[in-house]
């Protein structure tokens, strides 16, 4: 099997899904002739034509509104928002229509829509090309929120999102787009939504993370010989509460790592789930290592992002407790 990166994995998966299902249409800014600013949709307009790969005017509300109408009336749209930072003009459509159409119609309508969008820092993008807004979506019932941390999961989660009849927010950690190559089978396969992955077994503590910070965590534990359970959540709504509680009960010590601001970041929910269900197993504080509670700065982004030092400080803190 050849090794491919996440962009190639997504591109190939979109290509195969489109080949197999005429209902799939892509829409977004610069996704056509330009192939997307990160090249995830490269060459797909050439292959499937302008009717199925739709370059849109510059209005995210329009993109999501149009995609919602398509999804309600028989198509399977996959919308791209060029950067997650630019999804907010469509926030009303997402929160008030996409997430609520099935509910408000008593199931008469559904919105089987995938919204793909790159998120996170590490590309020197400053305030508006670096945000990690997953909490905004994971707090919204009706949405499903997933984020792959590697090319394999990118493919598997995209296929699962495609099979879902509910709207899926598909968050792509942009700094991992080309950072890692792995073997990815060329047949379509699924990575189940709602299931975390255990990336490493360990006894001393549990590190729970997802998306862009997964490689940082893995490198840190390997380099420092940390004997940790490492969990990659993969789905942020609904979270795999079983895996979270299992590892917390096993090790009794939990560190949560993510890039979004700490306050009400996804780590808050992970922590609260544990504090609600596994309190008697806890032998130390639950520590969150997260993006700082500031807008994402242009200078010093390497300090903003949770790195080895900060993760090890947390590991040592919970181990020493």
């Amino acid at each position: 099997m050849p090794q491919i990166n996440m962009v190639q994995s997504l591109n190939r998966s979109l290509d195969q899904l489109m080949a197999g299902d005429e209902r799939i249409v892509l829409l977004g800014e610069d996704i056509g002739i330009d192939g997307g600013v990160f090249r995830v949709t490269d060459n797909l307009m050439n292959k499937y034509g302008e009717e199925r790969v739709i370059d849109t005017p510059l209005n995210e509300l329009g993109i999501i509104g149009m995609a919602t109408g398509m999804a309600m009336y028989g198509l399977k749209p996959i919308a791209e928002i060029q950067f997650q930072d630019y999804i907010f003009p469509a926030f009303d459509q997402i929160v008030n229509n996409v997430a609520k159409v099935r509910y408000r119609t008593g199931g008469r309508f559904s919105v089987p829509l995938i919204i793909r969008t790159p998120y996170g820092g590490g590309v020197k993008g400053g305030l508006y090309h670096s945000q990690s807004g997953e909490s905004y979506f994971a707090h919204t019932p009706g949405l499903t929120v997933v984020t792959p941390s590697n090319p394999y999961d990118a493919r598997g989660l995209l296929v699962s999102a495609y099979k879902s009849n509910d709207p899926v927010i598909f968050l792509e950690p942009k700094r991992l787009y080309r950072a890692i190559k792995t073997e990815v089978p060329d047949e379509l396969f699924e990575v189940e939504i709602g299931k975390a992955a255990k990336l490493k077994e360990g006894d001393d503590l549990s590190i729970i993370t997802y998306g862009s910070t997964v490689p940082t965590v893995m490198n840190t534990v390997e380099k420092n010989g940390v004997n940790a359970d490492v969990i990659d959540l993969r789905t942020l709504l609904p979270m795999d509460v079983g895996s979270i509680i299992e590892t917390a009960e096993k090790t009794g010590r939990v560190v949560i790592v993510h890039e979004a601001p700490k306050t009400l970041g996804v780590g808050a929910e992970v922590s609260a789930l544990i504090a609600e269900r596994a309190i008697d197993s806890l032998r130390s504080p639950i520590v969150r290592v997260a993006g700082y509670d500031t807008p994402f700065p242009y200078s010093h982004e390497e300090l903003y992002l949770p790195g080895e030092k900060r993760i090890m400080n947390a590991v040592n803190k919970v181990l020493a407790h």
Binding site: G65, G69, D92, P141, D166
Partner: protein, 338 residues
């Protein structure tokens, strides 16, 4: 035989009956609201004629995205009064399982879409629906109604631009009833609404939405344009909201009523007078129509009021196709709190 232009006497009679039914229903709902039977209502009084006209012009296969104030349009398109009451009561026969406030319907059997409260946010959906219809080579166009206030929303702007860029078959119809709650249209925008399409290369037309004949004539051009594949079209139907914005509103604070129920300017009265003058109906017929309408809505509400409410635990359904562990767990929590 025809009353005026292409309008046959038979069509005119049906239109008139439905307008009367809608008005009667509206008044019934308001009374039921006052008695605490129904929670809330957004009256459609005054706007019946343009709504009836839309209903007459639309084909079965046309998909309609209506808004929360389109009672006459539902009736003209065949929706039974009972189904409307079920929704307004939120009972266990409500097709939407009691999930939404009154007036927020989703009569998909009659090729209506789904009504939401955030003003204007249904408009961009029409672009996608029209795209899907063309993509799947389905017959029909998409029709969307909204108020004058909605033309200020971002959704309106995005939708008109996208519909124009993809040359889609969407007929945008603004029911300009003069007010967005308390805001007169003169403070909503300094432009004529029907000209707003010019920012997108979309033609527009203003029609007298209080006159059935004028509405039909004006809509004809718009429907022809959109049906012929030339792209989207914007109609401004000038009408008037008789009464309050909703049962929670007191319009005396901000306006003097210009048209009142049953007055000479009332659009239903105008049609009535025309039909009388042309000898299409007599006062006996009018009398009977009103009585029958009253009987129909009284009977329907009596019937529907007795339908039991939805199951409490059904509030956890339809968040997703299948509830996640979260909804399942919360359903158990609810059961434990019963």
């Amino acid at each position: 035989m025809s009353m005026v232009g292409n309008l046959s006497n038979e069509q005119a009679l049906i239109a008139y009956k439905n307008a009367v039914r809608a008005r009667t229903l509206d008044i019934k709902i308001i009374n039921a609201q006052r008695q605490g039977i129904i929670g809330f209502h957004v009256p459609a009084q005054g706007q019946e004629m343009i709504q009836i006209a839309i209903g007459m012009m639309a084909e079965k296969e046309d998909l309609i995205f209506s808004y929360y104030r389109d009672l006459a349009l539902y009736l003209q398109r065949g929706v039974p009064v009972g189904d409307i009451f079920d929704q307004m009561l939120g009972n266990s026969s409500d097709l939407q399982k009691g999930r939404q406030m009154p007036d927020h319907f989703s009569f998909s059997e009659y090729n209506f879409s789904t009504v939401q409260s955030p003003v204007g946010s249904h408009i961009p959906l029409t672009v996608g629906a029209a795209y899907a219809m063309r993509y799947n080579k389905k017959k029909g166009i998409v029709i969307v109604t909204f108020g004058d206030g909605a033309t200020s929303t971002s959704d309106f702007h995005a939708a008109l631009n996208f519909a124009s860029v993809y040359n889609l078959g969407v007929l945008f119809i603004c029911e300009n009833n003069g007010f967005a709650i308390s805001m007169p249209v003169s403070k909503q925008t300094k432009a004529d609404i029907y000209k707003k399409g010019s920012a997108y290369g979309i033609p527009g037309k203003r029609v007298d939405g209080n006159d059935l004949i004028a509405s039909l004539a004006g809509l004809q051009e718009a429907f022809d344009y959109v049906r012929s594949g030339k792209g989207p079209y914007l109609v401004e139907a000038v009408t008037y909201r008789i009464g309050p914005h909703s049962t929670s509103d007191d319009p005396k604070k901000y306006r003097v009523d210009e048209i009142t129920d049953g007055s000479d300017k009332d659009p239903i009265r105008r049609l009535e007078n025309l039909m009388l003058k042309m000898g299409v109906v007599d006062s006996n017929f009018i009398q009977t129509t009103k009585i029958e309408a009253k009987q129909e809505v009284d009977k329907a509400l009596d019937e529907r009021m007795n339908i039991p409410p939805t199951e409490p635990s059904s509030i956890f359904d339809d968040v997703y196709e299948k509830p996640t562990w979260i909804q399942e767990e919360e359903r158990r929590d609810l059961d434990a709190s019963d």
